[in-house]
């Protein structure tokens, strides 16, 4: 397993993925936080600047964008690399349990996301100064909890996209994955609307729609869960469990997909 992880880390390094993450993530965080540092809030005519907590919210939301991008690229292009086309035959011959592969990819993706978090913290310090970290409003515990929550969610997205990439090809997955996440967001909004509006709960279609949504990865609730986590420091354990169940499901499906070498589609690079 360790050898597989080392091999995969070498691939990440040689493919220049690591440098792309550092550059892309630093640019997004520094530019975004610079913008936030110049924002002012006007409440009843009183103009004030944002506090460390709001600045940290902003940093974490920027981090969502870069983290999701990393999970997407890793899931669609990097995780399936060894399991597609002619290469898959040689990978199949490596004498290890096929379960080691998805577990290795989970670990390596977590490593990339950790680097992304590190870049976020460095960018935050660069823009707002080191003293903001010692501010009583800044909580390292909440930051750690947010990282854990994002990590689980992004790992599910990564593995889901990797499974789709192995099944339908990379280009198709890029669009299918985008549509799927978008549909889940819409479903999340609709489900919220139903649950908050008692009139609408009488609509007969509500039952199956909400039931279905509740079983899918809670993408539509992700932002709300994160908001609750940052402001109150509380996990939505129901959703954490659901994300974890989907992660285990995708590990099993990935293992099942690589049971035989996968022939490359003619349209794929």
């Amino acid at each position: 397993m360790i050898n597989l992880i080392i091999g995969n880390c070498r691939y990440i390094f040689r493919s220049r993925m690591i440098f792309l993450i550092l550059i892309f993530s630093t640019l997004v965080h520094v530019a975004g936080l610079k913008f936030v540092s110049h924002l002012t809030v006007s409440i009843q005519g009183v103009i004030s600047v944002l506090g460390p907590k709001q600045e940290m919210y902003a940093a974490l939301f920027l981090q969502l964008f870069t983290g999701l991008s990393i999970a997407t690229v890793y899931g669609i292009w990097m995780a399936p690399y060894a399991h597609r086309g002619e290469r898959s035959i040689l990978t199949h011959m490596i004498p290890i349990s096929k379960y080691h592969f998805p577990l290795c990819y989970l670990f390596c993706c977590a490593l990339l996301l950790a680097i992304n978090i590190f870049v976020m913290v460095v960018s935050y310090v660069f823009v707002f100064g080191l003293t903001t970290l010692s501010s009583p409003e800044f909580s390292l515990t909440i930051l750690a909890k947010t990282f854990v929550f994002e990590l689980i969610s992004f790992e599910v997205v990564m593995l889901g996209l990797a499974v789709s990439s192995l099944s339908f090809g990379q280009v198709a997955t890029f669009f299918i994955g985008g549509c799927f996440l978008f549909v889940l967001q819409i479903l999340g909004a609709i489900a919220r609307l139903f649950s908050e509006n008692t009139e609408l709960t009488k609509v007969s279609s509500k039952g199956w729609l909400v039931w279905t949504y509740e079983k899918l990865p809670p993408v539509g609730d992700f932002i709300f869960d994160l908001k609750t986590l940052i402001s109150e420091g509380k996990f939505n354990f129901e959703h954490v469990i659901l994300w974890t169940v989907w992660m285990l499901f995708f590990v099993a499906v990935f293992r099942w997909k690589i049971r035989y070498p996968i022939q490359q589609r003619s349209t794929e690079a």
Binding site: N3, Y11, R14, E86, R87, M93, P95
Partner: protein, 243 residues
């Protein structure tokens, strides 16, 4: 087929194996044995079912009917894979590595002792005349082919399976591969060798299995075939067709 196959414990045993692609039977009731020290040549025209048979043996395809036993196990496991060296007909090693890095990576799964691993890698790279530190993406087609062949011999496997190994090799390398096959067989490994080039099989193998349209049409030892037909080529023409 060598009559001793039934007496000595088979390393590989195919018992009426059928593999289907959808509703089409790619191979049908294929049976043969491979015993220690044997070099078995799989002969057949394109589409005869040689590669399908190999893939079924290595657990890369589901078997519809029949049974495959390797090292007395009927299910392919990592432990079994560690005892098998396989050079597929077409394969691309990871381009971001060098040849040495690739073999070192594989050796970590196949060879236990670090010292013997390094020795084995260097000797293979030198035998197959590969530049150890050149990235694989800069390798020519022939060099990639040699690298794929070299990894099949890594860790001195008990069973070596070569699928059309001569494709893309120059005459010198063909000669060297022949020597390598003979050497491996002498050191106790069994070889399953699939090829179109009948004269090469006659030189490298002890036994042959002829396949045609997914079925085994003939099997026997090379000396017996030569004695009966004059050459493997003539035996092939008599049983499969052609001049």
């Amino acid at each position: 087929m060598n009559p001793s196959a039934t007496l000595v414990q088979s390393i590989l045993h195919l018992d009426k194996v059928t593999v289907k692609y959808g509703f089409t039977k790619a191979i049908e009731t294929v049976s043969f044995d491979l015993i220690p020290g044997m070099a078995l040549g799989l002969i057949g025209a394109n589409g005869a079912g040689k590669t399908t048979s190999i893939r079924a043996i290595l657990g890369m395809l589901g078997v519809s009917e029949g049974k495959i036993t390797i090292f007395e196990e009927s299910k392919m496991t990592p432990k079994l894979l560690a005892r098998i060296g396989f050079a597929p007909e077409e394969a691309t090693p990871p381009e971001y590595l060098t040849a040495k890095e690739y073999l070192t990576f594989l050796s970590k799964f196949k060879i236990k002792a670090q010292e013997s691993s390094e020795h084995s890698i260097e000797s293979l790279l030198s035998w197959f005349e590969l530049d150890p530190n050149k990235p694989i993406r800069k390798y020519s087609k022939g060099m990639r082919r040699r690298l794929v062949l070299s990894q099949a011999f890594l860790g001195k496997p008990d069973l070596i399976i070569l699928d059309e190994p001569l494709n893309g090799l120059d005459p010198i390398m063909i000669q060297k591969l022949r020597e390598r096959v003979v050497e491996s067989r002498r050191s106790g490994a069994s070889i399953l060798y699939s090829s179109h080039i009948l004269s090469e099989l006659e030189n490298s193998c002890t036994d042959v299995v002829m396949m045609h349209k997914g079925k085994v049409v003939m099997k026997g030892t090379i000396p017996a075939l030569v004695e009966t037909y004059g050459s493997v080529e003539k035996a092939f023409a008599a049983n499969v067709g052609g001049n």
